[in-house]
Symmetry: C2
Subunit: 455 residues, 2 copies
């Protein structure tokens, strides 16, 4: 291994789900594959020598005082084409939002030039807010979806990309759906092959994702076929879908199958250690066990849940049950592309679940005890927890992990954080960063050792 | 009247609580007092002539295409000294948060140099995010509090500033409280006189505010004395306090007086058309009537309520009852100094009140119907509604109102809003701005005709 980058800086990384570690002027030695080979503390005997050598070789980079390193964020639920309508239509009920805004928007991405324009903008924006890995829904159109994978590779984001499957003629508009179950399966297989091919030329990784939109928009034939693809391509492809997002969706599977959607996804072969299950709000104890045993990940999307899910996912309980939990912006059901926002809303929503919202009930009766997430919990879910759920060495600034990192400048003039004393505890600085940083504070971002943002 | 500034631009202003008006290349003619004298549409017969004349006189300013004018925001609940601890300690329960963080922080502001440093930073930051008017709690210390008023005048923000009263030795720490009820009243009166004097030199206005922290921290003697000051200085000073923030606070007044805090504030002469009542979460129907009849304003602080209030204030119901409603960041119980964030959280919290949060209850039983606020409602509350509640001509871009305005650049390179088509409906652009703008998008801010931010 050759060290090709040496970075000295202070910052924060999750140690456990409850604890965040502060590191002080650590020296990170990163190899040519973008992997952290060693992390040296100033009192380590190799520290001075390695630093001197890196300086000599011109690969040394010091993070300025007042700037802090954090791991890059991992956003595991993004409807990329919906970036074009982001922030709009949220006063409408879900069915209006889908029919009037979302499906017409997504249908436009068969136009590859339009797809290129929107996807380039979205990937750049997400990188510039510190999101180094994302799991994307693209659209039904395979070629347009490939544009998203290409843009992520080109711009340097680690991406999981799926061509959306929605084949049921009863459930989807004529102008926007797969031609048939068979066509949906064939197009998905072709997409898997194309993205796998593309991944050869990507340092940071791009992964195909088998993507039934959700059970209600797919026929059993398509779901079964996708399950077979999932088994066949287990080592190549991930799986993503929505699971138990709302009362309606959760009830839907019981109507159609007499069983939960968790159960049915499992039966179709779509619930494995490669499964990324957006929302997962209404899981029963039995569903939770299936998640914990298979290793599937529940992706918490707190902002969009406030608009469309009808309740708050009990994330604290999911963590206690040993489930993998990650976080998602859910653009554009959630309009905020910035995972700082998702972390903050996860904490805020969990507090509202804990205390309840309806003042007409007695204080002890309106909420659900032991629901609050700490800021550390939410930070973990957006970094280390997301990485673990994917089985990838990302989300931590530790030896053996990819160098996916962001630099937050707390002194940036127009967005200076309120740090007025020299002896401010580092735990307070961490909280100020996570609660208060705006995109302007993020000055440098690397993915797999490559500098992808430099402001 | 002399026109000293002519601005041509497109943008948005609240027409009613439900409707937002789009204006297209309107010409705003602003006089030497910073008041909008006329708003001319392009088809108005005077439009071309006035524009030409303004250009000749060098007072014409055109807002670029892709940039939009909005009224400045009005933040009616800010604990200014808490900016120094903003974002920290929120995982702690309220009593720990107050004792370990808040009171020690506030006590530091007897040091005028420290006060100057923090207040300058806060006022600048708020202006740069579009907040042109703010109602501030300062601290118990009169001189330190005056520093805040001076900084607001100097930096050009319209400010309402109060020296905090908390005199009860049983309820407040030894190191941070008024020496006695008498001293609290005298210091408040002196502060009123000093700020009234300072206001002479302010174009945009600075107003003294009688500020009992809240009933539980004050003696009856102090509350009575402050009520007398409120009557005496009715035309000079506002009144602010917390009212019915939490179950505990709401219950407290019943324990002490057998009556609600709304009722008691009224009885002490502290609930008038000049009263700014933070939180107001637990108001009874009778309390709501007192608000509506007196003209007092309920200041909704949605983020801090998620942490400390224990439920969501039913704002839709308050508006329907004819109450004045405004919005507040509540720094640092709410950590976000940016009112875009407060607007968004008000909508999000209202949706969570409407649908409920606890999935273990049936869908129809977990929420409170008709609670959802639209984005337009929340924007109104943060602009026109706030202005009306203060009885000041602010919060609208209309003739007769102060020129308090912000320019949002939707094309700013590192924070471009996702507008990809030339024919995007203006209502969608409005929603994208309010839901997605970050501080970088705000390029120019005026207060009372004076340009106070120019990036």
């Amino acid at each position: 291994m050759t060290i090709t980058l040496a970075i000295e800086g202070s910052g924060f990384t999750s140690r456990t789900r409850d604890d965040v570690q502060y590191f002080d002027h650590s020296l990170f030695l990163i190899d040519e594959h973008g992997i952290i080979q060693s992390v040296l503390e100033p009192d380590d005997e190799r520290y001075q020598a390695e630093r001197a050598q890196a300086q000599e070789r011109g690969i040394y980079h010091a993070i300025a005082e007042g700037s802090y390193l954090l791991p890059g964020f991992i956003d595991l639920h993004v409807h990329a084409p919906q970036w074009a309508q982001d922030g709009t239509g949220l006063d409408e009920p879900l069915e209006v939002w889908l029919g009037k805004y979302t499906f017409p928007t997504e249908a436009k991405f068969a136009d590859e030039a339009f797809a290129h324009k929107v996807y380039e903008d979205l990937v750049s924006r997400m990188l510039s807010t510190g999101t180094t890995t994302a799991s994307y829904y693209a659209t039904v159109d395979r070629k347009g979806s490939l544009v998203l994978a290409q843009e992520a590779v080109r711009l340097g984001q680690r991406a999981l990309v799926g061509k959306v499957v929605m084949d049921d003629p009863e459930a989807n508009p004529e102008y926007y759906r797969d031609a048939s179950a068979q066509a949906a399966i064939e197009e998905t297989e072709r997409f898997i092959e194309e993205v796998a091919e593309l991944s050869q030329s990507s340092v940071q990784g791009v992964y195909p994702v088998i993507t039934p939109r959700f059970i209600p928009s797919c026929t059993d034939e398509a779901l079964r076929g996708l399950g077979e693809l999932a088994a066949h391509y287990h080592d190549v492809a991930y799986i993503q879908t929505h699971c138990s997002e709302s009362d309606w969706e959760h009830g839907y599977a019981y109507e159609r199958y007499g069983k939960s959607d968790t159960h049915m996804l499992h039966e179709f072969g779509l619930l494995t250690d490669r499964s990324i299950l957006a929302h997962s709000v209404y899981l029963s104890e039995e569903d939770m066990e299936v998640y914990a045993q298979t290793g599937a990940v529940a992706v918490h999307c707190p902002l969009s849940n406030a608009f469309f899910a009808g309740s708050v996912a009990p994330i604290r309980r999911y963590l206690d049950a040993g489930m993998h939990v990650a976080i998602g912006s859910d653009i554009s059901g959630g309009y905020n592309p910035d995972l700082y926002g998702a972390i903050r809303q996860a904490v805020t929503s969990s507090r509202m679940l804990e205390t309840g919202v309806n003042r007409d009930l007695a204080a002890g009766e309106r909420g659900v005890a032991n629901s609050a997430l700490t800021l550390n919990n939410a930070f973990y879910v957006a970094t280390a927890g997301g990485g673990e759920s994917l089985g990838l060495p990302i989300g931590r600034l530790e030896a053996g992990y990819a160098w996916d990192a962001q630099v937050v400048d707390t002194k940036f003039p127009s967005a200076r954080l309120p740090i007025f004393e020299d002896n401010e505890p580092t735990s307070d600085i961490f909280q100020k960063i996570v609660n208060l940083a705006v995109p302007e504070n993020i000055r440098t971002v690397w993915v797999q050792g490559r500098e992808v943002v430099s402001k």
